[in-house]
């Protein structure tokens, strides 16, 4: 009976790797098209200059940086789920961590493009990297932007290693169940000759644990660093000490929302209902209550402090953000509603166990978190110190299409991944199954 359970898991997961349906391919093509348009739009910008965007001197960061922060935020829940929850020995993580990690990888890749896209002279982007050169010109390690480069690339590398390491046993499984020659060769290559010998498992498990232990503080640090891109400045609305934890919570908030948004459709499409149990989603919903509360707390503290500081710039800026502008102030309130009010509905068990509702709520939170970043970046910039240099910002078509590109890229990669690799960690599920059986036997 043991191996029935295990075989079950294999069958279901390996089932997902079957030849994709026409509908699936069409969707994929749609995202590819979105990418194409985006590339053309960017070419336009590359040829003419940043002037084709809606940016100006008070507001010189716009949708691009908003997207960057948003995608990086998305990237966070992946490692959170696979590393932190692993350390906490949380069971429900095992079903979803692979998908979450994949999401992380692709989100970082997408996010990483935006700092380049928004660069005035992208052709010399490598000047931001620390590499020895004969002119002895190094980046400025005091600049938050350089921290950003270091942190994000570290995050990418570590999550990639973690992701790959976690996948090796499953790759072996796939290898052993693939007939088709080319694919088989690929899996053989990637599986690194995994045989499941105890000796392999021994070091493998240790190394996985170590990576998890290292990845956990990394998650916290990366989005703190992203928040410092703003907090290091003296722009009101940016320069506030709480930004680091506030951004981390926000990142996880949006990340969880994105996992839900991805997995609920996925379990339908790939018929994984028996593996991705509703209970998992309930757990994530409950986590989102926590993150939502933290985000809400931060909004509150920020508001109170901007009053308490008795600083004319702070106070006027907060008033402007909340009530001062027909274009921006509504966004502020929408943001609060979507990011705080909506997750609070998860206190109601009926709602959080209803997958349809969960999906909608998650999408709303995704939107809300994007708006939050937009409000933080654009609105703060548009009203700074000298009233004579106030200005406003609205994205122009290039920015819109390049944003579209990012979505195209992300979903294209994710959907292709799902069809090429096991998006559910089989070995961990098997381990869990075996443990459960042992537990039962012990009871007996």
């Amino acid at each position: 009976m043991t191996n029935q359970a295990l075989r079950d898991i294999d069958d279901q997961v390996l089932g997902t790797l079957g030849r994709p349906s026409i509908r699936y391919m069409l969707v994929l093509g749609l995202f590819a098209l979105l990418m194409l348009i985006g590339v053309i739009a960017y070419g336009f910008q590359y040829a003419l200059g940043m002037g084709v965007t809606g940016l100006s001197v008070p507001v010189a960061w716009g949708v691009y940086i908003t997207n960057f922060v948003w995608w990086i935020g998305i990237a966070h829940s992946g490692t959170l789920i696979s590393a932190i929850l692993y350390l906490f020995r949380t069971k429900w993580r095992n079903g979803i961590n692979r998908a979450a990690e994949a999401m992380t990888i692709f989100a970082i890749m997408t996010a990483g493009l935006f700092p380049l896209i928004h660069l005035g002279r992208v052709w010399v982007f490598y000047w931001l990297l620390p590499y020895p050169n004969w002119r002895h010109l190094w980046p400025n390690f005091k600049s938050p932007l350089v921290w950003d480069v270091v942190a994000v690339s570290t995050y990418f590398i570590v999550s990639l290693l973690f992701f790959y390491l976690g996948m090796i046993p499953d790759l072996a499984t796939v290898r052993d169940n693939t007939r088709d020659g080319r694919r088989r060769r690929l899996y053989t290559l990637l599986a690194l000759g995994w045989t499941g010998r105890y000796e392999q498992w021994r070091h493998y498990a240790r190394s996985y644990l170590a990576l998890a232990a290292l990845a956990t503080p990394l998650v916290i640090s990366v989005h703190s660093v992203v928040s410092w891109d703003f907090a290091m400045s003296l722009i009101r609305g940016w320069h506030t000490t709480i930004f680091a934890p506030y951004f981390v919570a926000g990142a996880i908030h949006s990340g969880l929302a994105m996992v839900i948004t991805l997995l609920i459709p996925l379990r339908k499409i790939l018929r994984l209902e028996r593996i991705l149990m509703p209970y998992y989603f309930e757990q994530m919903a409950l986590l989102m209550i926590l993150t939502g509360l933290i985000v809400g707390y931060s909004y509150g503290v920020e508001t109170f402090m901007s009053w308490y500081s008795a600083d004319i710039f702070e106070r006027q800026f907060w008033m402007y953000r909340a009530f001062g502008s027909w274009a921006y102030s509504p966004l502020f309130w929408i943001m609060i509603f979507l990011n705080v009010a909506v997750p609070m509905t998860f206190f109601v068990k009926k709602l959080r166990t209803n997958l349809k509702y969960l999906l909608i709520a998650a999408i709303l939170v995704n939107i809300g978190m994007w708006i939050e970043r937009f409000v933080i970046i654009v609105v703060s910039l548009s009203h700074d110190y000298l009233p004579t240099s106030w200005g406003d910002y609205a994205p122009r078509f290039v920015e819109v299409w390049v944003t579209g590109f990012s979505f195209g890229l992300f979903f294209f990669l994710f959907l292709s991944f799902v069809k090429l690799f096991p998006c559910i960690p089989m070995s961990e599920l098997k381990e869990q199954a075996i443990e459960e059986q042992r537990a039962i036997q012990e009871r007996v």
Partner: protein, 392 residues
Amino acid sequence: MSESSFNLPMWLWVGCLIAVVAGVIALALAFHSSAREGWLWLIVDFVVFLGIANGAIGWAAVFRVAQTRWAGAVNRLGHAMIFYMPLLFGVLIALLIGVEKFVPWVEHPIPEKAAWLNVPFFRIREVVSLGLLWILFGGMVSRSLTLDAKTRSGERIASEEHYRLTAISVTSVIWYTIAASIVSYDFIMSLSPKWVSTMFAPYFWVTNLYMGMAFLILSASLLRNVTGARDYLGPEQFHDMGNLLLGFSLFSMGLFFAQYLTIWYENLPEETHFLVLRYDKSSWMWLGWAAFIIGYGIPFLLLQSRHLKKSSGLSIIPAVLVLIGVSLERYVLIVPSVQPGHLAIYPLGAFGALAFLGALVLTFCIFLRRYPPISSADVALKESDMVLEVLQ
């Protein structure tokens, strides 16, 4: 399981009483020598022990919210703090009576902030926020105890009773953050009323939880034998608690750094003066950094060892360091606001802490004596109704 096999040895009674008396006398003398010194010490002690008490009981709430199944005994240790609260409330009242004596914004008012920094409102919000918090905690404890009684008498417990306990725990956790924030604003930030930092409140209550966990570890390893909760406080539990302590030391250091870095970077006077005085340009910096290293740095390194975390005996070391270090840090956060310039230590006042400590131990033990050492309500948690498993 039976009633607690734990009864206070005589020497503990006596010791605690002596401590209390000595502490009170010390404080009285401190007040006598200089009222400001007295008030300062009262604030410091209050903030420290409030932090420990709320932190410890806060953990009980958190574990309940997280439906942590291994924390049956630990929670009860947290619950035991509830008897201490009335005493703290007394101290709070004393502080609120004397508030004009120690807050600088009474003689140098700040008109723009008057809506917040005024004595009546100060008193009201303190009483309301802490009072409500303690009522919530009390409710939580009593609920848990009644559930215990029922389980022991073998009644079956309706899941909504469990749910009610969880609900009040959730509420008290949420309110805890708010109440603690208010305390931090009033008793620390408002002492140098020009200073602002959004991070400070979160930093304050996170470090309170840090202290709380340290206290739980300490009491657990001291009492596991006497209370008969031994098998519920095994190496696994200590390992978990140790990991939590480790995590929180890293987290607290992170928050500290985030605040320090942000302020260091833009160098805005209304932000910097607070930190420069404590950590950069005055003899205060020695104490400041010492507190940081004792309270966070060393524990972080020690807790790297799995062996230490697992052992009930050794894990006392980081716990004690944390309690000492963070208390020192509180001192550094409070005193220089009133006593700027150079490092100032009042040995006399330091003894005042004995009173709080003695009272704490006393009330703590009394509780444990009266109630079973394991909260079977938490042990009885079933997979079916689990909520928020982050901290499992």
